[in-house]
């Protein structure tokens, strides 16, 4: 609350700075804006920035550093016998101090009560100091910047510079988040590989990640051979692509080359609705409708089909991916220049000859790129397989049996109460890392192919 008031005050000062800067710039040329190097509003922004930015940055830095400084001061005020406690106990103690100070919890020892009071007074002092320092910075910035204003000040260039720095900052946030995620995956995976050798993980054929709490339990040793998972993922993705590629590609060809514009305008968005259906809906569609259907069909044909067959999950996933393939293929097919079609028709080729021999070859790189993007989507898809694929890690190529996938296993490893230092949970990070690497490579390759193709006809 206090912080909010401080921010509002700072922003008000900055607004004031804008008006002052603007007025002063105009006054410096006797009211003739043409004599200024930059528009008066840039002078206004210039002053506002000098007023607001240093102060706000100060506040941010203060808020970032304050907790650790306060903690250090509070801890050093505690009795000496407490200070020798191990790190975890100290953390607990400090937590208690904060609870006592903020929420009026009864202190367990008098020392904690004293520390809590000290904590409170330090916080208040710190806030007061922060407010004073930032307000002084704002006022100083405002007066100084206002003095610097003259007709030939390059206010525009400086304001634009600050804006561009701000934009770069925004885009770095996304990049650093990605880097952070990758690093955390990497470090947790390294911890996992300390417990389980990487060769066993990548090449082992047996997956059974249960680790017993007590040594006399059954199945007390976990096995972390991920090959059955990779195989299961590939099998389901393969079935999905078998469904999605022909259907998607052929419908794209129809849309782009045969359908009349009115029909296309209606059907294309309808097809893209498929991409908007939540995957969890596909999931129960797969688990409750498609899988029993395949099982019953199998029974009537005399085949034994698991009720969580790879086939059901794969087919439903394929249907989900159709719009990816068809939309991307449609884009690249429409991007094939009309002159190639005319050239082919002009030689007496029929529509299907033109499509088969000119248009599809010309669009092939783009189509391949689109298919690769769809593959990476299939590999990373989670909800459908969690609901429709099995949990047992079977190493099989038979689509009628139940298999499990990398994403399903990550979910089962992390669902529920878990301790985050056992190989069982850490295995999820290792699986995530593998998944990340595979989809990253697929995406990079696919985008590269698509872009290369685009350049050719622009």
């Amino acid at each position: 609350m206090q912080l909010l008031i401080l921010t509002v005050v700072l922003l008000t000062l900055a607004t004031l700075g804008y008006r002052l800067g603007r007025g002063r710039a105009l006054a410096s040329t006797g009211g003739n804006p043409r004599l200024l190097h930059s528009l008066p509003s840039y002078h206004g922004y210039y002053v506002a920035m000098w007023c607001g930015l240093p102060a706000l940055l100060l506040v941010a830095a203060w808020l970032a550093l304050e907790p650790s400084v306060v903690r250090m001061l509070v801890m050093s005020g505690l009795p000496a016998d407490v200070q020798t406690l191990p790190e975890e106990r100290l953390a607990l103690l400090f937590n208690e101090v904060r609870l006592v100070a903020s929420f009026g919890k009864a202190p367990s020892t008098p020392a904690v009560g004293v520390a809590a009071e000290q904590y409170l007074s330090l916080r208040q002092l710190s806030f007061a100091a922060m407010a004073v320092v930032s307000l002084v910075a704002a006022v100083l910035g405002l007066t100084a910047a206002q003095r610097w204003i003259q007709a030939d000040l390059r206010a525009r260039n400086r304001v634009e510079k600050v804006v561009s720095v701000f934009l770069v900052g925004c885009s770095t946030v996304a990049i650093f988040t990605t880097v952070g995620i990758v690093l955390s995956l990497l470090f947790e995976s390294i911890r996992f590989f300390n417990a389980v050798p990487i060769t066993e993980f990548l090449f082992g054929l047996h997956w059974s990640p249960q680790i017993a709490m007590r040594s006399d339990q059954v199945g007390s040793s976990g096995a972390f051979g991920a090959v059955p998972l990779f195989a299961g993922t590939l099998l389901i993705s393969f079935i999905a692509m078998m469904v999605a590629v022909p259907l998607g590609l052929l419908s794209a060809i129809y849309m782009a080359e045969y359908a009349n514009p009115k029909f296309r305008a209606i059907v294309k968005p309808l097809l893209e609705v498929l991409a908007g259906i939540p995957t969890v809906v596909y999931g129960f569609f797969a688990a409750l409708t498609v899988a029993p259907f395949f099982r019953d069909l199998g029974i009537s044909l005399g085949l034994s089909v698991a009720s969580e067959s790879a086939l059901a999950a794969g087919v439903v996933m394929g249907i989900m991916i159709i719009p990816f393939v068809s939309s991307l293929s449609d884009d690249v097919i429409t991007a094939v220049p009309q002159s190639l079609r005319e050239g082919s028709f002009g030689l007496g080729a029929t529509r299907s000859e033109t499509i088969r021999q000119v248009i599809v070859p010309a669009a092939l790189p783009g189509i391949v790129g689109g298919v690769l993007l769809a593959v990476s989507r299939a590999i990373g898809e989670t909800m459908i397989v969690v609901m429709a694929a099995g949990l047992a890690a079977n190493l099989t190529a038979n689509p009628l049996e139940a298999v499990t996938t990398v994403t399903t296993q990550i979910v089962t490893l992390l669902v529920g109460d878990q301790e985050f230092d056992s190989p069982k949970t850490l295995a999820a990070f290792a699986l995530g890392l593998v998944l990340f690497c595979v989809t990253l490579v697929l995406n990079v390759v696919a985008l590269h192919i698509v872009n290369k193709y685009r350049e050719k006809y622009d």
Partner: protein, 264 residues
């Protein structure tokens, strides 16, 4: 054929393509109005006129490329060797094998040079074996004046050639189907002067074996390559005659105005 009598300067006996009262509508737009024109065998006929005058529309009627445009309606009589081009019995695929086309912008397929030329013969089943196909490809490249430049790289992509070479590749591709008529829609407008000169020279040589109709914006080009010239204006055929006569002694004031550069 009584209409032919009303055009004393045309000689129907030599006509390869005849147009009688041809009209083209694009939706509401009347793009071509009552055109009567004879195109003679083994001659180059140039179609000239300001932009939007209907000369390309007329060209595209001859091989029915207008069929692909929605809302396009063609009426009147257009014949090729006396056969009605727009008759229901005519197969448009066979028609286009008889009437080849070269476009404004070189449009080689993204295939090898060889496959570009072999494309037409293959879809029409013109070669019985590989040897025959090779023969057709080589002859066509030779006649298009391109063989010497590309004979060592027949399997490289056609799109890797220069603009002028690409256009001659497109001409080779068109003549590989052994058409009777070749339609050219501003074939040099995307080419530099040297490539243009080569293509013009080629057009003159091709006249011996083919009937050529060329749409051009350049009056010098029309004068250089054609024997007969037809001048279109606002969808109407204003004047047609021997090229020399059109350029030296135009009958119609509009033609005179256009070729002397007063408008267009």
């Amino acid at each position: 054929m009584s209409l032919a009598l009303s055009l004393p300067e045309t000689d129907s006996r030599l006509a390869k393509v005849t147009a009688r009262d041809v009209n083209v509508h694009y939706a509401e737009k009347h793009a071509l109005k009552h055109v009567d024109l004879d195109i003679r065998s083994n001659e180059v006929t140039a179609l000239i006129g300001p932009s939007g005058c209907g000369k390309s529309t007329f060209l595209r009627c001859v091989n029915r490329m207008n069929d692909m445009i929605e809302n396009c309606r063609v009426t009147g009589l257009l014949t090729l060797d006396g056969d009605d081009v727009y008759d229901r019995k005519i197969d448009v695929v066979q028609l286009r094998a008889r009437v080849g086309m070269v476009f404004q912008k070189p449009n080689p397929f993204p295939k090898s040079i060889y496959d570009n030329v072999a494309y037409g013969p293959r879809i029409h089943g013109m070669a019985r074996d590989q040897g025959e196909l090779d023969e057709i490809v080589m002859t066509s490249l030779e006649r298009a004046g391109l063989l010497a430049e590309v004979k060592d790289r027949l399997l490289e992509a056609g799109t890797g050639l220069s603009g002028g070479q690409q256009q001659r590749l497109c001409i080779a591709r068109a003549i590989a189907v052994a058409p009777e008529v070749i339609l050219m829609d501003e074939p040099c407008s995307a080419l530099d002067p040297i490539a243009t000169a080569k293509v013009e020279e080629l057009i003159d040589e091709l006249r011996e074996n083919f009937t050529i109709v060329i749409v051009t914006h350049s009056m010098q080009q029309a004068a250089r390559v054609s024997q007969r010239t037809a001048f279109f204006h606002l969808g109407e055929l204003v004047e047609v005659g021997d090229t020399e006569q059109i350029f030296t002694n135009p009958q119609h004031p509009l033609t005179q105005g256009y070729i002397t550069g007063r408008f267009g």
